[in-house]
Amino acid sequence: MQPMKRRASINAFALAALGAVFGGAYAQSSTVDEIAKYREALQDGNPAELWEARGEELWRKLQGPKNVSFTTCDLGLGPGVVKGAYAALPRYFPDAGRVMDLESRLVFCMVNQQGMTEADATANKFGNGNQQKSNLEALAAYVTSQSRGVKMNVSLDDPHVRDMYALGESMFFYRGGTHDFACATCHGDDGKRIRLQDLPNLTKVEGAQKAYTTWPAYRVSQGELRTFEWRLNDCFRQQRFPELEFGSDAAIALTTYLAARANGAAFDGPAIKR
């Protein structure tokens, strides 16, 4: 894990919000209110926009050994079509022969169209400051921003997708690891939290909708934009599970389960989170 960033001040808004938290808001509910205010204050200048801008540039840039841009990459709505594509992912792609989420599809295009090796394509899957900028995170920011306001519509008509949904659902409730944890241990009841962070109840449609439609997100505490695969990866780490392999069927199955449960809600990412 990278060291957590500690800042004397995040900005004037953040200071005001923190002041209110320490300044006598003892009850849990008022703390939650203050955190909500803090998020609202940050919403206006969401640095995710910087990732969106970089991603848009990368989308059009000729790259890889074959010098090909992403404009030939098919995210499910036709080559190069980005608008609304994320709201219908994961889906089954016959050319790859498997169900894919956004991140694995981007890697697929980098490997099969741009001629990169899979290792190169996923080398910087999670960025770390200026030394290690992640193209995948930037591309994900751009693609998802083009689905803002679009209603989630992951189709379960395809049997492959249905299988992944069922697998994801069983993974969600499967208890394991050194702590005998399942996703449902933290995300199966209302009002659970880690420290001060309220955890969404993903077994309820509203909870799944609110959670899924706000990833990717800019994490203020990390100064990075994080995608949904990162979110799952870090949940696995916190559960002391084996590392969730990037773009694996396991990751895609869980994503399929949660994305399909968010169906009907307008996508609202990239968002901003603590």
Binding site: P3, R6, S9, N11, G45, N130
Partner: protein, 103 residues
């Protein structure tokens, strides 16, 4: 080369509201890396905002400003079509200038 800024400038009544998002590490010089070595300070020191040829905001910043800073302010005057030009310079003498037309 630093990434471009995101700038929005909107004329509201007799003033102009400017919102700027800058891409910068804003390293405090207080943090240590995994090897225990201090990460050198690296932050924006000067910010200047011009409305056409007139300076409307000049700021001196330090390491307490957050990573990827966001600045929002208003100035009197400014009409649709006018230019707003923003320049930052950091303590490595790296600089970036971006321009936007008031909407």
């Amino acid at each position: 080369m630093a990434d471009p800024m995101k700038i929005r400038a909107n004329a509201i009544g007799d003033s102009t509201e400017v919102k700027v998002l800058m891409s910068h590490e804003m390293e405090t010089g207080q943090r240590k890396d995994a090897q225990g070595k201090t990460i050198p300070a690296w932050f924006i020191q000067n910010v200047q905002v011009m409305h056409n040829d007139k300076v409307v905001l000049a700021a001196q910043w330090g390491p307490a400003i957050a990573k990827n800073p966001f600045v929002s302010f208003k100035f009197k005057g400014g009409a649709k079509g006018d230019k707003v030009k923003i320049t930052w310079t950091d303590n490595h003498d790296e600089t970036r200038t971006d321009e936007v037309v008031i909407a």
